[in-house]
Structures are given as C-alpha cells and as structure tokens.
C-alpha cells in the first residue's frame, strides 16, 4: 500500500471495481442490504461529512470479511462497516442481543443448570415462546451446554500433570470449548501433551468479545479485550506463547482489538498462534514428531471458515490434515455457512442465513464425506443442523488419528 495513503482503513484506495459485491454472501440474498462497497468505503465519505448518513442496514453485514479477501486494493471494508456501527449506531442493543452476546455471563449459568437448560431449549413451546418474545428463530437448533465446564474438568483431571512437561504454552480455550463443547479442550490437551507440551490456562481469560462487538456492546468488549491482553502479556512474560482453537477468537484478538476496539496488541501478537499453525510449524521443522495410528481411515471435507480465510491460515490446517495417512481430504468450495456467530440465531436473519449457506450445504451433500473438518464452532452448529453431517475440529481429528502413546514416547525430552 502506498505510504502516503492516510485514509482510515485504507478507504481512499477503493477503486469502485465492485469485486467485493460479487463475493458478499448477504448482498446475494438480502435486498435490504446495500452491499460492502456502498456500506463501506462509499458510505464512509458521506458519514465523514455528517453522521446522519449512517444507515441502519449496516446491521445486515455478517462481518465475514470475504469482501476484504476479495479486495485487490487492501481496503478494510468490513472493518469500515463495523467501525461505523460502533461510531454512529444509536440504538441500544435489545435484550435478546445482550443475551446472545454475553457468552461468558450466560455460559456459567446455563452450564450449572445444563440438563434443564438443554431440555428447555430443545422444546418446541419454549422455542416458539423465544421466537415470539425475544426473536430467536424457532427453527434453529440451539447450542447445547455442558454440565461440566472445560475449566472445571481441567482443574480436576489434567492440571497437576502439566508441570512435568518441558515446554509450556497457554491455552486460550474460548467460551465454546468451556461451556458448550469441553471435548474440544480435552482433545487439545491430549494432543499437546502427546507432543510433550504442557498446557496452562489463563485464569483471567475472558470472552474474546466478538459477539459483543457484533451486538453493539462496545464498552463491555473493550473491558474484556484489555483483560485478555493483560493475561496474554503475563503469559508471554513467563515464557509461554498463547495457542488458540477458535478462528474467530483469534481474528478478534489479532485484528479487531487494534482496528475496532483500539486496544493495542503489539506486545503479544507475534506470540499468538492458532493450534493448526502451531502444530504445522512444529512438525514441519522436525521439533514435533507425530506417530499416526495404523489403520485409521476416513473421508473428510474441509470447510474453511470465513475468518480463517481472512487470517489466510487455512493452508496450515489442510497441510496438517494431509499429513494423516488414511485421511482422504476434499477441500470444499469457499462459501460462507451463513450463521456468522449470533447473526443466524436472530429471527429476522434466519431465512437469509440458510439461503447463504445453501451452496455449502449442497457441496457437502455432493461430496458425502464421513465428516466435515472445520475449525469454527458456529460453522459446526450451522452445518450439523443444516446437513446432518458431523463436523469435527482438526484438533479432534488429530486426537483420533494420532497414536497418542507412541507420539508421547517419540516426543520425550532427551534431557
């Protein structure tokens, strides 16, 4: 990018080529949305003149960032749209949006009463009532809550054994592994430990804040971001890099903190890796030695989540999975699944959400894999609900495909 360009988020580099419009999943399915070019760099010119030009329709943006991947001129189109929503959006978030966004306030409560919460959220009268009263679409299968959180399990079953390992990392588990799907966290610990790496948690960890940003709860998001960066800094000071499993949490920490929340992450950003990137680098350099199970056989279809596309790190996942003997990997065409975090749960977005996902669902049906490989938790909900095909995180696939005992023996410290 030319050094003389000083426009915010590079918007003056927009050449009006409209490529972003051709990849926007919302524009193709929702006529109320003006599209990334008009909502982003074009609208910005007007908004800079006067905030009254802010349009409420910007809320239809999924923040999938496909426009940014497609932009030949490096304009941060989705960031411009999110920034405008932060700077000019005047409506207070609805009760529903606060509930959907407060993953780490609702999570502990729902986990504590998990059987009841899961039972209740699965009943059609309850879903009907939620549809009518707060606008969570009744067609949607709601995420299940685990009765034992990952953190609780870790403290009870894994924490004591971690000190024995020579190399240590901090695991940013995120809300999903903690409250909804602790098995992912357990798989993560099993794989890391097999490679001779000890796992520590960061007690200060908060929700990354992505759902709060999407739902207009900016001051709460900034507060969480600052606490997280403080925790990351402490970990890095103590010699532990931070490893994450969620593509969206990672994108939020690396990109949205400085761009949208104005929370500086420069002290830690080179020490944060997504687990697939971390393991790929370790195995490629010879530092980590995998021993694969004999006779493992599966056919998987890889769906690259939008935020992984934006990070540009999908190649780490595919290269890592291609190492598994016996795994046939088909890469799906790059399409948004339509859920976009809390977006697809909202009644007003349900139809658009499913329409956006249709090309992906059709693609999966045509490939007919044993399972879909995907790093993103909300893509998992959407794909499982809409296709019936199970979705596995690459870490869970590794936990199945690795001979964990032999890997542990191969990665024993030599000292």
């Amino acid at each position: 990018m030319q050094e003389t360009n000083i426009s915010a988020k590079n918007f003056e580099q927009c050449q009006k080529c409209s490529l972003c419009e051709t990849v926007c999943p919302v524009m193709a399915n929702n006529p109320k949305y003006a599209g990334p070019k008009r909502s982003g760099p074009d609208g910005e010119r007007y908004r800079l003149k006067n905030g009254i030009f802010f349009e409420d329709s910007l809320k239809y943006c999924l923040n999938c960032k496909r426009c940014e991947v497609a932009c030949p001129s490096g304009v941060r189109i989705a960031d411009l749209i999110q920034q405008a929503r932060i700077d000019y959006g005047r409506k207070a978030p609805k009760l529903r949006d606060v509930m959907l966004a407060s993953t780490d306030q609702v999570g502990p409560l729902a986990s504590a009463f998990a059987p009841l919460a899961n039972f209740g959220l699965g009943l059609s009268p309850v879903k009907g009532l939620m549809d009518l009263t707060i606008g969570v679409d009744k067609h949607r299968t709601l995420p299940k809550y685990a009765s034992e959180t990952f953190v609780h399990w870790f403290k009870k079953n894994a924490e004591a054994a971690q000190e024995a390992f020579g190399k240590q990392i901090s695991y940013f588990h995120g809300c999903y592994a903690n409250y909804n799907y602790p098995q992912l966290g357990k798989d993560f610990v099993a794989v890391m430990n097999a490679f001779g790496i000890g796992v520590q948690l960061m007690p200060e960890e908060r929700c990354c804040g992505v759902a709060k940003i999407a739902n207009g709860m900016i001051s709460a998001a900034v507060r969480d971001a600052k606490i997280n960066i403080g925790a990351f800094e402490k970990s890095v000071r103590e010699g532990r890099d931070v490893v994450t499993v969620s593509t969206t949490c990672t994108l939020t920490v690396l990109e949205e903190y400085p761009e949208l929340l104005k929370v500086d992450n420069s002290t830690v950003r080179d020490h944060v890796s997504l687990v697939e990137q971390y393991l790929y680098k370790g195995i490629a350099s010879g530092a980590l030695k995998p021993v694969w199970k004999e006779g493992y056989k599966a056919r998987a279809a890889y769906h690259c989540p939008c935020h992984q596309e934006r990070l540009g790190w999908g190649i780490f996942t595919t290269e890592l999975l291609k190492m598994i003997p016996g795994l046939e990997l088909v890469e799906l065409e790059s399409n948004c699944c339509g859920i976009a975090g809390t977006y697809g749960f909202k009644k007003e977005n349900y139809k658009v959400s499913q329409a956006i996902g249709k090309p992906l669902f059709d693609n999966i049906a045509a490939v007919a894999p044993d399972f879909v490989a995907c790093e993103c938790e909300t893509c998992k909900w959407q794909i499982e609900m809409s296709t019936g095909v199970p979705v596995k995180n690459p870490v869970s696939i590794l936990a199945e495909a690795l001979d964990l005992e032999k890997t542990a023996a191969a990665n024993l410290r030599e000292d």
Binding site: L19, V23, P72, R310, G312, I315
Partner: protein, 191 residues
C-alpha cells in the same frame, strides 16, 4: 512449504498458468491478492488439487545466485513458500504489478528490469482515445525469463500484463495474456 511452482497473482494469466501446470501434475500454489477472476478459474484450479492463498500477497523473495528460491507472504509470516519455478503474473498498474512514479516505472516486488521510456512526456497521449504508451511498459524478459540488474533469473517467468508489450489496450489483449501464460507453462514443463 514446498511446491513445484508458485504463481504470484490470480488473474487471467496467473490462473491460466496455474491450472495448466497443476493439471500437468506439478504441485502449484497461487498467491492472489484480491480475486480478480474468482469463480470458474478458481474452481478448476482447486478441483485439480491446487493450493490457493486468497487475500494474501507476496512481500519478499529469497534469491540464491541466479535463482529465486522462496517467497514470503504477508499472512504466513516466517513460513516461507519454496518452489522450483515461479510465475510472476501481477498485472500492471491497477494491481500494482507495476508502479509509476513521477520519473520512473518500476516493478515493486523484486525490482526487476522494466522497459519504459525515460522521457515522461512520451508516456501518454493527451487524446483519451489514442493508444497509450504507458500501457505497453512492463518487465523485460529474456527467453521467457525475468531480468534483474541485467542478469536473467533462471526460474522466474513473467506472464500476462506485467510483461512489456502485453497490454489490455490491444484489441487482442486476452489472446496475448493467455499466450504468454502458456509460453511460461511450456518453458516450465520443459525444464
């Protein structure tokens, strides 16, 4: 990461070369900043098993003697992309394959030798509809390979509009772009 061929640029020339090479059994990666031709060519290349790094851009190259050995990208950081051969298909000014300053035209990625007129007044014709000379500018090539400081880079093949003489202002632009891409494919397959 190691590939047989890395194609820098995902436009008409880049995707034409990439798909042909991948289908010929070479392991190819395309680094495409922006998706100028995203649907059909991308599908064909992916279906043939090619690796597409979309939304990423090459930021530097590592040379060893007269060969380009590896490139780094913005997104992959310290993970290098190594290859035996490279295709440079970064286009002209719009896609920043070429940059025009007030006094010179240069190739910003590797600093390759560029053919252009040193007399700036001859770069353009004030008549809008007239053929514009600046559109003919582009990187020099010798036997299909790029040239840097007068020396040929043995495994870097420019293709498409980044090349001198290949221009979208010509009536047969598409043909010239595809021809140059297929010439690079032929040369790489011969080696």
């Amino acid at each position: 990461m190691k590939f047989d061929v890395i194609i820098i640029g995902g436009g008409l020339a880049g995707m034409t070369a990439a798909t042909a090479l991948q289908e010929a059994g070479l392991r190819c990666a395309v680094v495409a900043e922006g998706l100028s031709l995203h649907n059909a060519p991308r599908r064909g290349f992916s279906a043939a098993g090619g690796t597409l790094l979309a939304g990423d851009r090459v930021v530097s190259g590592r040379f060893d003697g007269d060969r380009l050995v590896a490139v780094r990208t913005e997104r992959l950081g310290d993970v290098e992309l190594e290859a035996v051969n490279f295709v440079l298909a970064t286009g002209k000014y719009f896609s920043r394959g070429l940059v025009a300053d007030m006094d010179r035209v240069y190739e910003p990625l590797f600093g390759l030798d560029v053919e252009y007129d040193e007399d700036r007044s001859k770069w353009f014709d004030p008549s809008f509809a007239a053929p514009q000379k600046f559109l003919e500018f582009g990187v020099k090539s010798s036997d299909g390979r790029a040239v840097k400081d007068g020396a040929v880079i043995a495994n870097l093949y420019p293709a498409g509009e980044v090349l001198a003489g290949v221009s979208s202002s010509q009536g047969d632009a598409t043909e010239a772009i595809i021809e140059s891409a297929l010439a690079a494919v032929k040369a790489i397959r011969r080696n």
